[in-house]
Amino acid sequence: MTLPPDFAGGWMVSLLDLAVAVLLVALAARLLHTRNLFEAIVLFIAYGLTLSLAWVQVGAPNIALAEAALGAGVTGALFLNTFQRLAERSREGSGMVDPEHGDRGPEAGP
């Protein structure tokens, strides 16, 4: 079996690798299965961070940095941003309209 050139070895590291692999599959299964979008977004961020650990373990620190920053950080925050906008729109759609601003949204002014 080929290992990355800087593999430190030891049974504890193998246990960590196994834990990361199981966690990846479990997170992916849960996040694809849940109906609550907010839960899915939070699990997606956790998945990105776990995947970053996996990249470190296979000896790709550059990709691990990029995964943590972009996959978990930027994409996760973009999802949360979108969720916030959907929440605002669905609050408007359900009839809870700001009486001061009408249905143009709170930024539109009186």
């Binding site: 550059n62 959907l86 929440a87």
Partner: protein, 279 residues
């Protein structure tokens, strides 16, 4: 966008009452098809794992090739050598993709954009401001370090740019800094600067070394650092703009509300189109 107010985020148990925030599973494929696809995906994963475990030791060719030419590349980190020197053209195309994405987002419905400071006094957010005081300087210094150290250690322009964008997003989304928008020429200069600088470097090198983006002898390291700085700034500005200067979720036609109030604008449009088609 407005900074989130304390009562804004819907609680988990309220999510089911709001159709837009819940995954719509009514149009999922049949369970049998889903099971078959799941088995196929699982078999593929197991197969790839088996190849890794049982496949035997074969020497990897690419790391040897890179190690042979590492001194000529001007940097000592093999990843940066590949990204910015041997395959610099691919990185140029990646930045061009970012620029194209930015152009696509900016070309969407300009009238529905919600940016700028919200009217009235922004609410005090002491926890967020305390976080920003600590996190933004750290993000700034770390991103400068990552850009610089990418030539010898893991790092590089994309990672540094994403980190810088994180700091920028904290500042603008919290309302402490006026969000930069496409109206500012500086923003547009930074967004285009990555691609423009990279292409310019390549064109300038064309008469000198005879090939697009072929660094001359001894000039590889300073050129790589300069290009990485440009890329970092460009990536950071593009990512912040993707947060800040985006259109609101547009509704195709407000009158469709009367037909279908399920909260799904695309579904409503499709339902209306079907109703028109039927005689």
């Amino acid at each position: 966008m407005t900074p989130p107010r304390p009562g804004d985020t819907p609680r988990i148990d309220e999510a089911d009452a709001r159709p837009l925030l819940v995954d719509d599973t009514s149009r999922d494929a049949s369970p049998l098809l889903r099971l078959l696809l799941g088995l196929l995906a699982g078999a593929t994963a197991v197969g790839i794992g088996l190849v890794g475990v049982v496949g035997g030791d074969r020497p990897a060719l690419l790391p040897l090739l890179v190690a042979d030419h590492l001194e000529e590349s001007g940097v000592s980190n093999p990843v940066t050598a590949v990204l910015l020197n041997f395959r610099g053209y691919d990185t140029l195309l990646e930045i061009a993709v970012l620029l194209a994405a930015m152009a696509a987002v900016w070309s969407l419905d300009r009238g529905s954009r919600q940016f700028g400071r919200p009217s009235g006094e922004p609410e005090a957010q002491p926890v967020l401001e305390a976080l920003i005081r600590v996190a933004v300087p750290v993000a700034l210094v770390t991103s400068v370090y990552l850009t610089w150290v990418g030539s010898t250690e893991p790092g590089g322009a994309f990672q540094a740019g994403a980190l810088l964008a994180g700091g920028g997003v904290l500042l603008t989304v919290s309302g402490l800094v006026r969000p930069p928008t496409a109206a500012s020429a500086t923003v547009r200069a930074f967004v285009a600067g990555g691609v423009a600088g990279f292409v310019l470097a390549g064109l300038v090198l064309l008469p000198i070394t005879g090939a697009f983006l072929a660094y001359p002898e001894g000039w590889a390291y300073p050129m790589i650092v300069a290009i990485e700085v440009l890329l970092t700034l460009s990536i950071a500005v593009v990512l912040v703009e993707l947060f800040v200067d985006v259109p609101a979720v547009p509704d195709p036609d407000p009158s469709l509300d009367a037909l279908d109030s399920s909260g799904d604008p695309l579904g409503r449009a499709l339902a209306a189109a079907e109703r028109e088609d039927r005689p």
